[in-house]
């Protein structure tokens, strides 16, 4: 398939993209629709005795058929996704999920036209392979603070809301079916309730797909999304309950009680299984310091095992997966290397993205392929009832919940919550799972698909303009701010303290207790080395510094990072010390130019060469006669100060190794000058003492550093010079650990 090349070229024009897409669609459909052309058999039978010519080029498609088709499908899905984002107009109006369903319909149509059998979104494929990555991604990156703060609300919506939906829809449909007439009279109560269960659950995949694009505020996101995750337990229990009894025919009160007990077992059991696997995963990650490469795999495998183990016992796999991710995350992140952390993050996002895309495409394909029994009344009734029950449920429950919430839910919030209750592929798969002797199956499936299409397409498309129309609060994209983190912690302690003074055990009190328990017992077991005693503020700070260092390296060659438009540096905030006199002879400007030119030449050489330079080597070339040791110290200071624009990591070697810091090799430094830095008549500005030193470079012991008069240079640095230098320094540092002065391995 030469399509990938064509696709790249086609970035230039949508028409070409369209043509390529269609071509690919046709190819995929033809390929996946079971081809069984006559290939040469793998083992040419020579039993006839007739000697065939040796096949120079043979065709054997059957051998690779299965993986070939799978890969082709995934490739198609991703190319489609790529295509949508190239065409900006469409992707602004229509959410991606709709487009993907459309593509699925198209492909399904083509396959149908060829009169072949299309692959269907069967239950096993969905529940075992497509759903876990999405849920794991969601669970691992779940905003814990918001989730736990709103846990009560979420639980009420998930449990009571879903129950209400199921019974309301089921009951009403049964009622209407009885009234309607002979056509639908065959539908008994239990089947209706079963149908109601299937169609009532809010689907996490659809919610994620749509809410991701509208960037709504965190509270609403967590309420709707949390509900979609936690209602899995209810759905599982009700589904099995009704399916069991739709065979038996009747439900007794005892069964109802058993059902309630089952619910608790399913949900709590699922959470427990997940937590156990999570702790195992955290414990394992404690020992992976020598085999960093396989660290991400542990995270994925333990989580997947948690899901499968829960499914074995018919516990809630989704809740197990969430519990595993949530439990594992803080400890794993403290243990793994930065690269593993990035790998985990990106692999999860990648898998969940692929899964989501495939799910929607398959949904489209299955729609065309599946057995359908269209019944106007039933379908329209289902859609209307879904909407109505959702609205009523949200309004009613919010009324009750607001009595207990401190921060109440406004009408706008309620509207978004009601409108965001999307149904998706889980409903479809559950419907598919219905045993075939249920004669209503086709009708149910049709109705389910219609509901899914309606919610995803209509509600998905209109939610964005509605959010803008109602001026719902959006997510405030704040990058990590050390001040916010400090004050978040401060507030936690403050509120706990005030609660203690007030005298009641509130939310903060228990959170504080849990944190302390975590710190004293759990962290010691699950986190390797000295990181186990590192307070959260410090890890946050280190993470931020690391991030900024990375950003600096990455953007070194590009334009200046926009965030650092400020020229404030450490010296502006440090309290002044007494000014010291200047005693170094200044270097002449022409000399500076020469040095700079030479240095530029050196800088453009390969890094390998530079890496081997030491301070003394550099001295040999242009510097020998005019430069002194003091001068070098001055340059180092100047460079450090420039770096201090960006980073404030103190580099006391004497610091305990527990504090993770970015390592910079002191010997492999390149000194540069630029025009603006020529020593004009500056007042010698005092440098902050070594104790407060904000040098990036690991400072040599104070013996060396009677750091003379320090010239704090002018701010007018040449950007590229600095960045070049920064980039080189940092990239060198971060790629080549060099002689490892720090005890910890730094990646």
């Amino acid at each position: 398939m030469c399509e990938p090349r064509a696709a790249r070229r086609s970035a230039a024009g949508p028409p070409l993209t369209g043509f390529v897409c269609v071509l690919l669609l046709v190819c995929v459909s033809v390929a996946s629709a079971s081809l069984d052309t006559a290939e040469d058999p793998h083992h040419p039978t020579n039993s006839t005795g007739l000697k065939k010519a040796f096949p120079v080029l043979a065709l054997n498609y059957d051998y690779v058929r299965k993986p070939f088709e799978i890969a082709l499908w995934i490739l198609l899905a991703l190319l489609m996704k790529l295509g949508f984002h190239i065409i900006p107009r469409v992707s602004n109006v229509v959410p991606e999920s709709c487009l993907l369903i459309g593509v699925g319909l198209l492909v399904g149509g083509i396959i149908r036209a060829i009169r072949e059998e299309a692959p269907v979104l069967n239950t096993e494929l969905f529940f075992l392979y497509l759903l876990p990555p999405i849920i794991l991604d969601a669970g691992y990156f779940l905003p814990i603070r918001a989730f736990t703060e709103n846990m009560g609300t979420i639980l009420v919506f998930a449990v009571v809301g879903t129950l209400w939906n199921a019974f309301f829809i089921g009951g009403m449909i049964f009622g209407v079916c009885q009234i309607e007439g002979a056509q639908l009279a065959g539908v008994d109560l239990l089947s209706c309730l079963l149908f109601g269960t299937i169609v009532s659950a809010v689907d996490p995949v659809a919610v994620l797909a749509v809410f991701e694009e509208i960037h709504i505020n965190e509270l609403l996101y967590i309420l709707v999304f949390g509900e979609s995750l936690l209602n899995d337990a209810v759905t599982v229990v009700l589904y099995h309950l009704f399916e069991e009894f739709s065979h038996a025919g009747t439900v007794t009160v005892a069964d109802a009680f058993l059902g309630i007990a089952c619910f608790f077992v399913v949900s709590l059991g699922g959470i427990m299984v997940g937590a156990i696997y999570g702790l195992l995963g955290a414990f394992t990650s404690r020992f992976t310091s020598h085999t960093r490469v396989i660290e991400p795999l542990f995270v994925f495998l333990y989580s997947y095992m948690a899901y499968l183990s829960a499914e074995v016992f018919h516990l809630s796999g989704i809740m197990s997966l969430i519990a595993c991710g949530v439990t594992m995350r803080p400890y794993v992140e403290a243990n793994v290397s930065h690269k593993s952390y990035t790998t985990i993050k990106y692999f999860m996002k990648m898998w969940s993205s692929v899964s989501e895309t495939l799910i929607f495409i398959f949904l489209g394909v299955s729609t065309v392929a599946g057995p359908h029994a269209w019944n106007w009344t039933f379908v329209i009734l289902t859609v209307v009832l879904c909407l109505v029950s959702r609205v009523l449920g949200v309004i009613g429950l919010t009324y009750i919940i607001n009595k207990f919430r401190i921060v109440k839910l406004t009408k706008k919030d309620q509207f978004i919550m009601a409108y965001g209750g999307l149904r998706g592929a889980i409903a479809f798969s559950l419907g598919f799972l219905l045993t075939d002797d249920n004669e209503m199956k086709s009708m149910f499936l049709t109705a389910i698909i219609t509901v899914i299409f309606f919610t995803v397409i209509v509600q998905g498309m209109t939610i964005r303009p509605l959010v803008e129309l109602l001026a719902v609060k959006r997510k405030n994209e704040s990058k990590g701010s050390i001040n916010e983190e400090i004050h978040t912690q401060f507030l936690d302690h403050l509120l706990t303290g005030i609660e203690d003074v007030c005298g009641h055990y509130g939310h903060h009190h228990w959170k504080d207790k849990l944190n302390r328990f975590n710190k004293t017992y759990v962290k010691r077991w699950l986190i390797a080395g000295e990181r186990s005693t590192e307070p959260q503020l410090i890890s946050f700070y280190n993470k931020m510094e690391m991030k900024q260092a990375m950003m600096l390296v990455e953007s070194g060659s590009a334009a200046r990072p926009p965030t650092h438009a400020s020229s404030v540096s450490m010296q502006n905030i440090q309290p002044r010390e007494s000014a010291r006199g200047r005693a170094i002879p200044s270097i002449s400007k022409s000399r500076e130019q020469e040095i700079r030119k030479v240095l530029r030449g050196h800088l453009q050489n390969t890094r390998q060469r530079l890496r081997s330079y030491s301070r003394h080597d550099l001295l040999v070339d242009p510097f020998e006669d005019h430069v002194s040791e003091v001068r070098f110290r001055k340059q180092r200071v100047e460079m450090e100060r420039r770096m201090s624009h960006y980073l404030t990591v103190p580099a006391n070697r004497q610091e305990t190794p527990a504090v993770r810091k970015v390592c910079f090799e002191p010997e492999h430094r390149v000194y540069t000058y630029d025009d603006g830095e020529s020593p004009r008549g500056r007042a010698a500005q005092p440098r902050p003492g070594p104790a407060d030193g904000v040098s990036l470079v690991s400072e040599s012991p104070p013996g060396l550093g009677a750091r003379g008069p320090d010239q704090e240079q002018e701010v007018q640095e040449e950007k590229e010079e600095q960045e070049e230098q920064d980039q080189l320094k940092l990239s060198r540092c971060l790629s080549d650990p060099g002689p490892n002065h720090n005890k910890e391995e730094e990646e």
Binding site: H487, H493, I498
Partner: protein
């Protein structure tokens, strides 16, 4: 007995109107105050210090100071008291009330400023209107005070980084000779804009009396 009861009712009602609590909440808090003070009229620092649950709190001292800080009483006074009565106690507590459904946008803004002002007062111990680097360092040190040596060394770096951030955000272009005096209240507001104080800084005040915690007074 009856007369004093109606008198205290009136007083409670008056306090409720002034601080925004409900009557039941005021009564509840009054009960707690009595418990803390041992039925006295005032409480002192030592009494609050002896609440056992506060022992594990790293910023215990600041919290207790906040109760005795006159700036939090909204009477435009400065300085500290030695002992506080119920009215002052309630006033401090009123900073932690949550917004209700009926609070308008302006009221929410005012509430936010009030809460931020409370926090600011907690940091600005010398009452010069700015949080200097030294004061901020003290804050971070206290926060990390339960974490031993690691905490102390990193505290300085963290405080410096935080200060740098405030300065960069609020006064982006400073010449090298300029000196950033300290965080003013406006800068403080600006830097904590994203935290939405009015929805975060609150605790639940009960209408029903469930003072379950002992207040640590030794009954000898």
């Amino acid at each position: 007995m009856g007369a004093s009861q109606t008198r205290s009712e009136h007083k409670h009602q008056h306090l409720a109107d002034e601080t925004g609590f409900s009557l039941e909440q005021v009564k509840n808090l009054h009960k707690r105050f009595q418990q803390l003070s041992g039925n006295e009229e005032t409480i002192s620092r030592e009494l609050l210090d002896s609440v056992p649950a506060l022992a594990n709190n790293p910023i215990r001292k600041q919290i207790i100071e906040a109760f005795f800080d006159k700036r939090n009483q909204h009477h435009d006074e400065v300085g500290t008291c030695e002992e506080i009565g119920f009215e002052q106690f309630l006033m401090v507590m009123s900073h932690f009330r949550p917004p209700t459904l009926k609070t308008t946008v302006e009221e929410k803004e005012a509430m936010r400023r009030e809460k931020l002002r409370f926090l600011f007062n907690m940091h600005d111990t010398d009452n010069d209107g700015t949080i200097t680097l030294a004061e901020y360092r003290k804050v971070v040190e206290e926060l990390l005070s339960k974490s031993g040596d690691i905490g102390q060394e990193a505290a300085k770096a963290i405080a410096d980084a935080a200060m740098l951030e405030v300065a960069s955000t609020n006064v982006p272009h400073m010449a090298p000779e300029d000196f950033y005096e300290g965080i003013t209240f406006e800068h403080f507001e600006q830097i904590l804009k994203g935290l939405e104080m009015e929805t975060r800084m609150h605790i639940r005040f009960l209408d029903v009396g469930t003072t379950t915690m002992a207040c640590g007074k030794s009954t000898s």
